[in-house]
Amino acid sequence: MATKEFTLDDLKRILREGAGADESVDLDGDILDTDFEELGYESLALLETGGRIEREFGITLDDDVLTDARTPRALIAAVNALLGAGAAA
């Protein structure tokens, strides 16, 4: 089974589809370490995003992941950790 990787591009695509993008934010800029809140995404937008990631990548995110991962880098790492664990199992 091929191991999928969750990339920043995946995240940006899913954010745009699921929650839209704030006009004052450049998602194509250097956003990896910017707080989601500064990017214009509140908890509801992250829940929608999390749901989409779960469905597309076939994983289940713990409730804390979305509250603990405050930046794209942290969320991407959390998702990839799950994907890696799935591949190893």
Binding site: E17, A19, G20, A21, D22, E23, L47, G51, R55
Partner: protein
């Protein structure tokens, strides 16, 4: 003596015009927005016409972040509210936040959004339902989203009384102004033109099955055969007269009187309640029947309902005693959006000295109404009466008076 509530802003999203300028130009010239449904393929259904709003691009008016979480109905309502506030010359951020509220009417909520999520639920599974489903479809969504977008923390609300609800919302807005809130955004906007909404409306047994836009919705006509539904409506800015005067606002007119009733149980043989609602509204406004210059009819286009409405109007005004019009023949029935749109028309008619026409209808003499048809009629309009009825027997009447 209670506070007078005046209307200082209008925002219109109608099948025959976006914004008051386009809407009024179309309405006074008899331009209809009814046509074959384009939002889905209507061919499997017995009714195939609707009043759809062409050329509305939500992205042009609203923040991108709002789009995935809103039904078309809410997008239209948010834009109508923006336009109404701009028309009133109000910048909400400059006013005390607890001194502004939002009271809208709803009919079926964000039904198209709901259809999409129901489809995901039943075809893909519960995990596929959007986080936004929890509010995007529900009846309170327009009031909530308008209050958030404009920072309005005052008394807000939502009423549902089928098509009569648009007037009930305006009356509730006036109530809040009388209790001391300076400004209330009110009205109703609907967009139930999706297959699931269509099927539910068909079950109401009141839709016209005609395929000819000019022959489908003919209230008070011997060939009346049901109505054509539409999308859209209007949002109005209501203010305490004193607050409007202090800021030097343009005033369209006053919400002068209101009455509402519900019919007795079907089959009970009791008299329909419209006449009582109408009389209550006139009494509340302190207006004699002879002072009313025009009636905007509910115009169900179901023979027995047209009969009941004509009876109520004639009982109060005498046969042919007042000009009656139904510009909704150009838009279709917009449910909770219908009466707010009629109110907008009433204020625009006052300003222009013109009663907009009831298009397509050839009035049957048996109704004994002075129906304004085909051409707009010049008239000095100081006082107008708007009637609205909803399935289930809801009757509401509202009297508006021109600004002095």
């Amino acid at each position: 003596m209670s506070t007078t509530a005046v209307v200082t802003g209008l925002g219109v999203v109608s099948p025959n015009g976006l914004g008051i300028k386009d809407f009024w130009a179309a309405t006074k010239s008899g331009k209809s927005g009814i046509g074959r449904i384009t939002r889905f393929d209507p061919s499997p259904y017995p009714a195939r016409l609707a009043g759809e709003i062409p050329g509305f691009v939500a992205e042009d008016h609203l923040p991108n972040r709002l789009l995935p979480q809103t039904d078309r109905m809410t997008q239209l309502a948010l834009v109508a509210a923006d336009w109404a506030l701009a028309d009133a010359g109000v910048t909400p951020a400059e006013l005390p936040e607890f001194d502004m509220g939002v009271v809208t009417a709803s009919h079926s909520g964000g039904f198209e959004f709901g259809q999409g999520e129901l489809k995901k639920l039943w075809s893909l599974g519960s995990q596929h339902v959007s986080a936004y489903q929890s509010f995007a479809w529900f009846y309170a969504v327009n009031s909530g989203q308008i209050s958030i977008r404009n920072g309005m923390k005052g008394p807000s609300g939502v009423v549902v009384s089928d098509q009569a609800g648009g007037l009930d919302a305006i009356a509730q807005a006036r109530r809040q102004i009388r209790k001391g809130t300076a400004l209330i955004v009110s009205g109703g906007v609907e967009a139930p033109v999706c297959p699931w909404g269509w099927v539910a409306q068909l079950a109401g047994n009141r839709l016209s099955t005609s395929d000819e836009p000019a022959r489908a919705y003919l209230p008070f006509d011997a060939e009346a055969c049901g109505h054509v539904p539409g999308e859209g409506g209007a949002i109005l800015v209501l203010e305490a007269a004193e607050a409007a005067r202090r800021r030097g606002a343009k005033v369209y007119g006053e919400i002068a009187g209101y009455g509402a009733t519900i019919d007795p149980r079907p089959g009970s043989g009791g008299e329909p309640g419209l006449r009582r609602a109408l009389e209550t509204a006139l009494a509340d406004a302190g207006v004699r029947p002879g002072e009313v210059d025009v009636v905007f009819a509910d115009a169900a286009a179901i023979p027995e309902l047209d009969r009941a409405e004509a009876d109520a109007i004639n009982a109060v005004f005498g046969p042919g005693g007042v000009p009656v019009t139904a510009p909704k023949t150009m838009t279709g029935r917009l449910y909770s959006g219908a009466a707010p749109l009629d109110l907008a028309s009433a204020f625009l008619a006052m300003a222009d000295g013109l009663i907009p026409p009831t298009v397509n209808t050839e009035p049957s003499p048996e109704y004994g109404l002075d129906l304004v048809t085909a051409q707009p009629r010049p008239a000095e309009i100081r006082t107008a009466l708007v009637l609205a009825r909803g399935q289930g027997g809801f009757n509401s009447a509202l009297v508006v008076r021109a600004a002095d």
